[in-house]
Amino acid sequence: VAEAARPHPPLRRAILADTRFVSKNRRRPLDDASDRRVALEALRLAWRSDSFHGQILYRLRARLLRARVPVLPRILHWLTMASAQICIGEPVRIRPGVHLAHGQIVIDGMVEIETGTTIFPFVTIGLRSGELAGPRIGRNVTIGSGARVLGNIEVGERARIGANSVVLGDVPAGATVVGVPARVVAAEDAITD
């Protein structure tokens, strides 16, 4: 399995950024809150939301992988699967500040996911057969439930991918795509929020 160039993010930064972003998505923004307050919120969320619990376990696993700690990452992976069926491969790089809503997702291969991305359940992000490089997903992308994002492609920032879409080609920044295979149905101008 090929190693991606960038290291996994530091644990503290990843968890704080994830908590701020997830809280914002859950309509409890922590804009001016201190790190201490955000850390307490992380504990509360880990209790309330099994996918956030899984996400924290994933961050811990990623940090241990970076430190080349043996055995423990594998056990954390099992726990991640058990808490929310979140299956994320070792070559995947997820920047701090993402939201895995509800879990039930598979991400594997050399995939990069930037800050501000929201991934809904039943999503697969991965490879097309015989390839090693997967999608690069830009900042603030939303990936709808059941969508499949596959192959060596680029999803531009702020793009929105509709439920059950199959994305096999590049998505321009700010576009909304839907369907099998996914096509652009709205360019950036159409987005009002």
């Binding site: 399995v1 699967m81 069926q85 299956c87 697969t124 059941g146 499949r148 199959v166 099998v180």
Partner: protein, 212 residues
């Protein structure tokens, strides 16, 4: 693609089970073939004639590295126990697979030795056969329609099933066919074809030589 065949008298679950259980492959045969098929996908091909010891060592390594592979071994053990009509244990192994990786495969599903289920999270039910060399991606369902009784899909060797696909009813998928992600297959797919969409349509065909 033709309409699925409807039997005059649909197969019941009990009949399906009576016919299917004895046809599960033996444990060693299945694990050896699965390991030989999966190891190259992890970049560790086993070569022409690996020793049994080498294959078993590789299968242990895969079981540690891939939770889906461990569940696949549990499924193979379950198949071998079902074949010998051992009670209770197969049910426990089934529970393990579901808890471990969300992989639910019914007793009547026959999977030939030498397949890959890379991330689990699949549901396969009914009287289903799956050929050697098949690739079953995550979030796939293979099963029944309300019209077809207990008879499910017959999937040929070397078929690649894309993530999120549903394959339902008494239909046949020919050797080396490829089914695109999120497709819904409700009718036969010829050998070597590529099918996509809901309902799935054939969009391409591979060269005859590749079809095998």
């Amino acid at each position: 693609m033709s309409e699925p065949k409807r039997n005059d008298r649909a197969v019941t679950r009990r009949e399906a089970k009576a016919g299917a259980l004895g046809r599960h492959p033996s444990f060693v045969e299945a694990v050896v073939a699965d390991t030989k098929f999966v190891a190259p996908r992890w970049g560790r091909p086993l070569g022409e004639n690996p020793s049994l010891l080498r294959v078993l060592a590789e299968s242990l390594r895969l079981a540690w590295e891939s939770d889906a592979y461990l569940a696949q071994i549990a499924y193979r053990l379950r198949g071998a126990l079902l074949r010998r009509r051992v009670p209770v244990l197969p049910k426990l192994l089934h529970r393990f697979s579901i808890i471990w990786i969300g992989m639910s495969i019914s007793d009547t599903v026959l999977i030939r030795p030498g397949v890959s289920i890379p991330h689990g999270m699949v549901t396969i039910g009914g009287l289903v056969t799956i050929g050697a060399g098949a690739l079953i991606s995550p979030s796939v369902s293979i099963g029944l329609t309300s019209a077809g009784g207990y008879e499910g899909p017959k999937i040929g060797p070397g078929v690649q099933i894309g993530t999120g696909t549903r394959i339902l009813g008494p239909l046949t998928i020919g050797a080396n066919a490829r089914i695109g992600a999120n497709s819904v297959v409700l009718g036969d797919i010829p050998a070597g074809a590529t099918a996509v969409g809901a309902p799935a349509r054939v969009v391409g065909e591979r060269e005859a030589a590749e079809r095998g």
